[in-house]
Symmetry: C2
Subunit: 411 residues, 2 copies
């Protein structure tokens, strides 16, 4: 039985031969240039279009890039130069960001398990720390005293709400992230009293949400919470990072997020914000929404085989590079990402096939019973939505297969 | 509410200080020797005990190591020298095996997506190819002709049965692995007629099974199927690889596998095997059962925090090193692996805690609401059952955290 796939994102077309074009370039030529499959191609033109769309909608709101979504250096170099800030999740990401030419002064560092060495490296570079606990604040203050550096500290808040229907819940109830809202005012007072530079709040309520209404509700609640906490702390926050949570459609039936509606609602909310936030800047931190749709994972068909009436297309890629597409990254039910035969892009479906990777495990499935044009060994399979949480979020060493290559186009 | 953990495997004790001993050595001393956490320690003494147990039970049956379970070079060097064969899943694993001093002549190579370059490298080294399709056989024959090498070819069979209750189904119905049993005799005839060296069958029906009865049933059916296929092909198989599938208990309520009962049943089955298998050797291919229990993942507590009445122990490790323990590697429902506070090993539980990694994702959970002795920053958390499908099966680059170290003890 044919199973549906998610929607292929806009911006991908074919040339007269039916070859998939990425950033205007033929998929087979990109593979030749990279040297081999498997290959991730990121179209920076699509990222720029997303940035432009954000800028047009969210006037006056800072745009941050959550680099955990895609730390590939040439991509980060490009995106980092076009956004207002980069959000880091580790000391390792700080090193990558600095190698990409990102100014540490516009970065902030969230993460519940920052080691002393991470804190020290970040403080030396002038990174804002989104403090995840009272203990972390004390460690940062002690390191600051030892090094003679004034720490730049924001407080990550564990809000009492979450984005309804978000793919991953980051707030609401007991969480390892941030400080429970009730304890935040005391912590801000402690930071201010200790002489650290207080940078404001980081309030992240969820991710991969596709419902504009739910995001509006969460952003409205976030602004209200920031005001309430600032009042209670008696300190105006220089910046409130509203988190992100903007999703992209991965699966059949999902619809793209209406960000313009969210922007309009946020403008209204900010227009009537309480006095304590009058001088506050606001940021939205995006990863998946900015770069998820720009990436295509190209892999080559090694074998086509039949088993009990079913056709399998066996590729030289798999879950070792695209774990999420195999359904093993937080999904409860496996559903199909959009895939296509890159060298017959736009051709109508001719038969059902299951696309698998080259690993000896039944988990390694890229598309299950999907309708595709007929394909054979040597053909290229394109797995879309590979721009965020792709290669870096996958078990690349598993079974010691051919490593994936990466490249950017459209810069 | 306290949730149960899986059983800590036998062979781990504490010294008078309450410090966990691995291979007779203190966990904290091992961390000091390795230089830092996170650290995987593999106790080769425990692997040797497993090998000895297999040898004592399965007289005359070859023991193969499925190196995909743990390709760490010092471990592979040791284990490779004590087993009768090593099973490979990629050209990359062949290179690692050769670096470990494994004789390619005792290796076999299974995997549905072997590229021509993989086939060529394996054939040059004298590896037996477990052919996964008719197309792969033709490619191997063509490469053999081109190189002047006689391919060593076994046929991987997709059996019509599976191991009941196995963790992962590898046979039964339409599968990307092997050749449907009905088409195998014709393929064997083709191999023999083409002048290749026919090496026999590889029949793998499942993995991570804990029910001896189900494994006995599968092995009995495998021997019968091998005989039937050999008769139909008119060719005696030199070797039948019966697959593996021996599981280890990961979760609360699971019991260790009774391998002696399986061995006795297999001896009986082989004792009365059909004439066509009279000169056949038999192999069992084990990964998880051999090495899974020998490994401990040690990570350090960076923060202890409370949120809405719940205690979180935040460590410097996580799913980037132990994806399976986080419940994101084929599990439908997340359950707790056995964990302990290594420096208070054997102390009774004092309170409930949730052990998380340092990643900014709610997926990064190592143990959920488990009863532990009280622990604080600086203490070491031990996650057991980390010897198979641990580091190499995890998204190590995710969030660019501190890399994990590995070491062997007890050699």
């Amino acid at each position: 039985m044919t199973k549906p796939m998610g929607p292929i994102p806009a911006g991908f077309t074919a040339d007269a031969d039916g070859m998939l074009l990425i950033g205007g370039r033929r998929a087979d030529a990109l593979v030749a240039e990279a040297g081999d499959t498997p290959l991730f191609v990121y179209d920076l033109g699509l990222v720029e279009a997303k940035i432009a769309r954000f800028r047009a909608a969210f006037e006056g709101v800072h745009l941050h890039f959550a680099m955990k979504a895609n730390p590939y250096l040439p991509l980060l170099k490009h995106v980092g130069s076009k956004v207002d800030g980069v959000d880091l999740a580790s000391g390792g990401e700080l090193a990558i960001a600095m190698a990409a030419g990102v100014d540490p002064a516009v970065t902030s560092f969230a993460g519940p398990g920052k080691r002393d060495a991470d804190l020290e490296a970040a403080m030396r570079a002038g990174v804002t720390l989104n403090a995840e606990s009272e203990g972390e604040v004390e460690r940062a203050l002690a390191i600051g005293t030892r090094l003679g550096i004034r720490p730049r500290l924001a407080v990550r808040v564990n809000p009492d709400f979450e984005i309804k229907g978000s793919g991953m819940r980051m707030g609401g109830g007991a969480k390892p992230f941030g400080v429970d809202a009730a304890r935040v005012p005391a912590l801000v007072k402690r930071i201010v009293k200790a002489g650290a530079e207080w940078r404001g709040f980081h309030i992240f309520a969820g991710s991969q949400a596709l419902d504009a209404g739910a995001l509006i509700e969460a952003q409205t609640a976030t602004v209200a919470l920031a005001a309430e906490l600032a009042e209670a702390a008696g300190a105006e926050p220089p910046l409130v990072n509203l988190g992100g949570g903007f999703g992209i459609p991965y699966f059949h039936g999902e619809q793209a997020l209406d960000v313009e509606t969210i922007a309009a609602a946020l403008a209204e909310t900010l227009g009537k914000r309480p006095q304590v936030l009058a001088n506050t800047e606001f940021a939205i931190e995006l990863g998946r929404w900015l770069v998820g749709e720009c990436g295509v994972y190209l892999t080559r068909i090694v074998d086509r085989k039949e088993s009990h009436g079913k056709t399998f297309l066996v590729t030289d890629g798999g879950m070792q590079h695209q774990l999420a597409a195999s359904g093993n990254f937080g999904q409860v039910v496996r559903r199909n990402y959009p895939v296509a035969i890159a060298n017959r892009f736009g051709a109508g479906p001719e038969s059902d096939a299951t696309v698998v990777g080259c690993l000896c495990t039944p988990l390694d499935r890229l598309a299950d019973d999907v309708a595709l044009p007929d394909a054979r060994p040597g053909d290229l399979v394109a797995v879309f939505l590979a721009g965020a949480y792709g290669l870096s979020a996958s078990p690349q060493a598993f079974l010691a297969q051919q490593p994936a290559r990466e490249m950017v186009v459209g810069a």
